[in-house]
């Protein structure tokens, strides 16, 4: 057995291109997915209307089916219904729907653990419904669930490797492409796996850095 990593060098451009795709997919998903989760959690929090039930169904379907099947359903299924969708858009939509569903569920647990009386008290003190929701419900809930949120975002980033299967040129696609050229499968996958690992570590560190600023009010306090 011999490992030869030098055959990878001519392909560093491909790896870089794939890395950029994986990164921007992850960044967009993180922001839009969390926004979606807030909306879903808000509507479900309001009560048991038909919207709330529909959103509950969405969360359960996403959480109980594999990402790759969701991806195939969007990418192959929608065009068959006459709705054209590009691979990149399908990937992005699938990733956002995923993060949205998982985060909505995490967020709900965070919201449930905020005492209901606080919400009512802030309303009585004259905050509008949205103000109260933002300052009294959402921010404390986020600060409480932040560790789970970090993990979830990383899971979605790692899961995005699957978008290579509908030919989105991400990091994994680059690895498959290089493997098909130089037949050095193991070396390529080893390097790319290491890049994913670094991405995961980097994401955790940046999230923690942002969290320290966002939730600075909790520091020193008993929370």
């Amino acid at each position: 057995m011999t490992l030869d990593f030098s055959t990878l060098l001519p392909y560093s451009g491909h790896i870089l291109e794939g890395l950029v795709t994986t990164l921007w997919l992850t960044v967009v998903t993180t922001f839009v997915g969390i926004a979606l989760a807030i909306v879903v959690a808000y509507v479900r929090d309001l009560g048991s209307g038909i919207m709330s039930r529909l959103l509950g169904g969405y969360v359960e379907v996403v959480r109980n089916t594999p990402f790759i099947v969701q991806l195939f359903f969007l990418f192959f299924g929608l065009p068959a219904l006459g709705i054209p969708i590009s691979a990149t858009v399908a990937a992005l939509v699938a990733m956002i729907l995923n993060l949205g569903a998982y985060t909505a569920e995490i967020l709900r647990a965070g919201i449930d653990s905020t005492a209901r009386g606080q919400h009512e008290a802030s309303r009585a003190l004259g905050l509008s419904r949205l103000q109260s929701y933002r300052h009294v419900v959402l921010v404390p809930a986020f600060s409480r669930i932040y560790p789970s949120l970090i993990s979830q975002c990383i899971i979605v980033m790692l899961g995005s490797a699957v978008v290579s299967q509908i030919s989105v040129f991400d990091l994994t696609y680059a690895a498959n492409f290089i493997q098909s050229r130089n037949f050095r499968g193991f070396e390529v996958y080893l390097v790319v796996t290491l890049i994913y690992l670094l991405l995961a570590v980097g994401m955790r560190l940046s999230f923690e850095l942002v969290g320290r600023r966002l939730f600075a009010f909790r520091q020193g306090g008993s929370a």
Partner: protein, 218 residues
């Protein structure tokens, strides 16, 4: 080209679904076995062993399952083994599962108050005895709900074995789609198949969790 009736599609998916179930069971049972050994080693072991196990867990949790599958598949070839998709998928999913379960179970063992440890040691039980009679029974109660919950992730994870050519539910779906070209129906049915497998487990995990914490334990 032959025409596919809905029943043809459903029948073929059901046949392939068996392999999703079998692979999930292999991964879960194998992963639980390896995970248990790792958990025990990690709780009692020497510092370098603990450190190595932590690295193992971090690496599997910090890399895509798809990459782990590719590495198992191509890595074995580099080492000179000719592995089937079956073997590669079983090995990769078992290791993946063991890392996550090891992490979940470590949390459960640590959640048992340390006074319990000290008390049992003071009463003259050795490490294994304390573990077996005092710590593990308590940790086990805490461990059941998240373990059941994680089994859902294992089942969903087996879908990725389709990428290295293992014919299970997802692969059968893509193959059927190539022949019948009814992607909307086929992938909706594939998703339904996973949902039928996963949803009861999710519900059961949530029920167990509610019961555990509702009962005021911990």
């Amino acid at each position: 080209m032959t025409d596919f009736t809905l029943w043809d599609i459903v029948r073929n998916l059901l046949l392939a679904g068996r392999w999703t179930v079998v692979l999930s069971l292999i991964a879960f049972v194998g992963g639980a076995g390896v995970g248990l050994v790792l958990t025990l080693l990690r709780m009692g072991g020497l510092k370098p062993i603990r450190w190595l196990i932590r690295l193992y867990v971090d690496v599997f949790q910090g890399t895509p399952l798809l990459m782990q599958l590719f590495l198992a598949y191509f890595g074995a070839a580099v080492l000179g083994f000719d592995v089937s998709a079956w073997t590669a998928a079983s090995v990769a999913l078992t290791l993946f599962t063991s890392a996550f379960l090891c992490d979940i179970w470590r949390g459960c063992v640590e959640a048992v108050p340390s006074g319990q440890w000290q008390a049992s040691r003071v009463l003259g039980l050795n490490y294994l005895q304390s573990m077996r009679h005092v710590i593990l029974p308590q940790a086990l109660r805490l461990a059941v709900p998240p373990t059941v919950g994680f089994s859902v992730q294992v089942i969903k994870g087996t879908a990725l074995a389709s990428v290295i050519g293992f014919v299970e539910l997802t692969k059968a779906g893509t193959m059927l789609n190539n022949a019948a070209f009814a992607p909307f129906t086929i992938f909706a049915l594939v998703a339904l198949g996973y949902f039928i497998l996963c949803y009861p487990l999710s519900r059961y995990a949530r029920y167990l969790e509610k019961r555990l914490y509702g009962a005021g334990i911990r």
